[in-house]
Symmetry: C2
Subunit: 484 residues, 2 copies
């Protein structure tokens, strides 16, 4: 008999079934190396720095926050500074628009230490609606906007609402960001995987969606929603308009709720970003009646893009076409956790309503924003070029987001060595890479991949290119060791 009340055998089995590789074994091992190095205990390690390329965490990798955003936040945290305008303007380099925005936000929230409306501060929801209207050239209603503590909490809310029984299924692209599979697992709902088309820049393959649907239905799954991550995580793909239309067509045919994860909407290097909302509204105008009842939830966040404020936990989702009675239930569910972090909500305001041309903070904002964008693009390209040269590695051209997801053909010897350790081949590769170089990436199995293939996901956030060299060198040695 166990002495403990709670054991692995009697806790929520849906939790232990869940997998979340992004912060799993490799991340824990990388943290252990980092802390050994910090305590000068790592003298025996073959590297002197850990590179966390496992997670899209820009500011952990020295991306500087946008000055305007942080100046406003500093005033929100300590409003008595507003009584010293001359010091702010003359000694500290704050501009007048920083002060005005802080005053406006304080009127809206009273204090960042007070609970806000559970759906988010009304004035900020107005700003979000205005941003969406201008982005899409179609109106947006602030009553349909929910501010969230990052997109993750929004996804959790939406899937929780949709899940009505263990047979409830949700179409999720594979490879995917494991938030989706992990949340479905915790909710005891069914994952309905549809494979993205690696040969076509990880595009959305309608046949794959249809066959996934048919298979799920034959297994008794009640498929209620489809998730699309655009730009893609981990794939980096950026969907064209036609792809999005096709997804919406399937949503109509199959009465699926569309969950559009658009947190990388400003991280687009090739082509341009098309929002699901805009494409849906365009279709509704063009083909009267047919698309009127599509239910779309689209998510955005302050964590990615040039904002990169993951630690501040801000985001939103907009609901389109939802039954108002369902929206009420969503409100009730989010109200149980009271409200999203208020400073995170304020960051959403700053993200959707940044300084405009002619305003005092605009020039610096623009320069910082463009520099970050250019840096990301440059590093993506450098990494892509390196991967092209590596034996057995095939990588799609970077289009967007913060990741590359190359395929690696590992020699059979590596697969055997991995099996001996009870590991998958890609996992084995990533652990060896971490142990030899301090570079932490995530094996493709953490995101899902076609049977018999291996991949890994790496961010291109780390500054410099020295760490890319470490990967190239490791890869060569690894291949040499296991080549037959």
């Amino acid at each position: 008999m166990h002495l403990n009340s709670l054991t692995l055998d009697n806790i929520n089995s849906n939790v232990w079934k869940a997998k979340y590789a992004v912060r799993g074994e490799l991340a824990v091992r990388a943290e252990a190396y980092r802390s050994r190095l910090a305590q000068k205990e790592g003298v025996d390690l073959p590297f002197d720095k850990v590179i966390s390329a496992n997670i899209g965490n820009p500011q952990q990798l020295d991306q500087k926050p946008i000055t305007f955003f942080r100046q406003v936040l500093s005033l929100l945290e300590y409003p008595p500074l507003l009584e010293k305008e001359d010091v702010l303007l003359n000694d500290l380099g704050y501009q007048r628009d920083v002060i005005e925005r802080a005053r406006w936000l304080l009127r809206e929230c009273r204090s960042v230490g007070a609970y806000s409306h559970s759906q988010g501060i009304p004035g900020i929801r107005n700003s979000v609606a205005k941003f969406i209207s201008e982005r899409d050239c179609h109106p947006s209603d602030p009553a349909s906007v929910f501010l969230t503590g990052g997109a993750s909490s929004g996804v959790n809310t939406l899937l929780n609402i949709i899940r009505s029984k263990p047979e409830t299924g949700v179409l999720v692209p594979i490879p995917q960001y494991p938030l989706y599979t992990a949340t479905l697992s915790v909710l005891n709902a069914r994952l309905v995987p549809y494979y993205l088309d690696e040969e076509h820049a990880w595009g959305t393959d309608m046949d794959a969606i249809r066959s996934a649907l048919a298979k799920a239905k034959s297994e008794g799954t009640d498929v209620r929603a489809i998730v699309v991550i655009n730009p893609g995580n981990p794939t980096g793909a950026s969907l064209g308009e036609e792809d999005i239309k096709n997804v919406l067509r399937i949503a109509v045919e199959e009465k699926l709720v569309v969950i559009a994860d658009e947190v990388y909407q400003t991280n687009v290097f090739l082509g341009k970003f098309h929002s699901f909302k805009k494409v849906l509204r365009d279709l509704q105008s063009a083909e009267a009646g047919k698309f009127d009842h599509v239910e779309l939830a689209s998510l955005h966040s302050v964590s990615k893009g040039m904002v990169g404020e993951c630690g501040q936990r801000g985001g939103y989702f907009e609901l389109v076409g939802f039954d108002p009675k369902v929206v009420e239930q969503i409100y009730k569910l989010v109200s149980i956790s009271l409200c999203p972090p208020v400073t995170g909500q304020c960051l959403v305001e700053l993200m959707v309503n940044p300084p405009k041309e002619g305003e005092p903070s605009y020039a610096l904002y623009k320069q910082e924003y463009d520099d970050i964008f250019a840096g990301l693009k440059e590093r993506a390209t450098a990494l892509y070029e390196a991967f092209k040269e590596m034996e057995g590695v095939e990588c799609q051209e970077p289009q967007g987001s913060m990741y590359l997801f190359p395929a690696i053909k590992l020699p059979p010897g590596a697969a055997r060595a991995a099996a001996n350790e009870g590991r998958k081949a890609d996992e084995f590769y990533c652990i060896r890479l971490l142990d030899s170089t301090g570079v932490c990436i995530v094996p493709g199995s953490g995101f899902g991949q076609k049977e018999g293939t291996s991949h890994f996901r790496t961010t291109f956030l780390a500054p410099g290119t020295e760490w890319v060299g470490r990967i190239v060198k490791f890869h060569k040695e690894f291949m040499d060791e296991f080549r037959e």
Copy 2:
């Protein structure tokens, strides 16, 4: 056929079954009044200000944040200020310890915009463990501390882990903070209510717990945990050591996990706060062997007490006696939502490690802290005195937390009028109060109460006493109207 995919009939029924009165109909109605008044549309209303006494939201009701905390946070949000030490010290009134603490926190988190460790920043967990050790005179292990986005998210995590099947039951005090019932409902687990003893200052009644347990078992409920809220919400009760020992004895006998919600630990006016951890460790020393395997999770938060920073979403829980494999699963579950807000984590650091005697910020900190405490006590007493004078109202003496929870005996005429509107009597009373005075309180039915009794919960956070006068006047008129 419904045009929508999602309808009330096919979404997660556990969500629509959940009730959360603190932000329910009354709160929504109060917000509508507030917005009408703000837009000068409320000229016809019989009040000119809405008083939100429905929720413990100190800074919404003009409680000033602690200067030291907010100065540190302002530097964390905009670290370039640290390059202007002379301006900070000479022109802005920052003390040297503010600057030092900000530098230390920035070393720990790198940037408040970066994701932290999912369990919370290691250095801050060390500070929490030190705080607990000093509070309880028993060691605490930082590896057992999880930082959270407020206590609500901690409760959600713990209940999610414990819930393994629909028959899983959790003992919850009645009246209770509806977070517990709502979360159990969303998780499709069973509420096992045990009634607190109103006649004895809302104390914990062992017989009530035992009979609740027996009844639950006879219904096939697998009771796994007991929740204790101390100091009590909504009751304001503060438990004595013997009450806590009794709960721990039942936990041993019945192998129950103890969830100690101690977010009001500094809001104690009568007697002193006893932590479950300290009482458990004392018992373990005194009665060797018997209490060794108790599993205790105790929660704390930056939202309440003299900190009052609800909107910043910070908190922690400490696990004692948990199986390490279960702790790993808790880690995995929280890692899916990445990390708690980093500024909220920093506030936890500041709460558990405030300025000490002899440090430059100490005098002001002490004065602010003591003033807030005295103000709360004074308003609690004023409200209590007013309730004592009101016909048919009976209120326990305020001991702690931020609430009073008086019983009201409503005339039969009021009950009939309520029934005509399809409402409970206490709900009817609270709506009439809001409509006539702008004061928003929560009916006792939102927290649970014995059949046939009526109560309401009010915070004593609102400044001044004018609003108390409004309640007294309304009550008299209400009683006169319905007296028979």
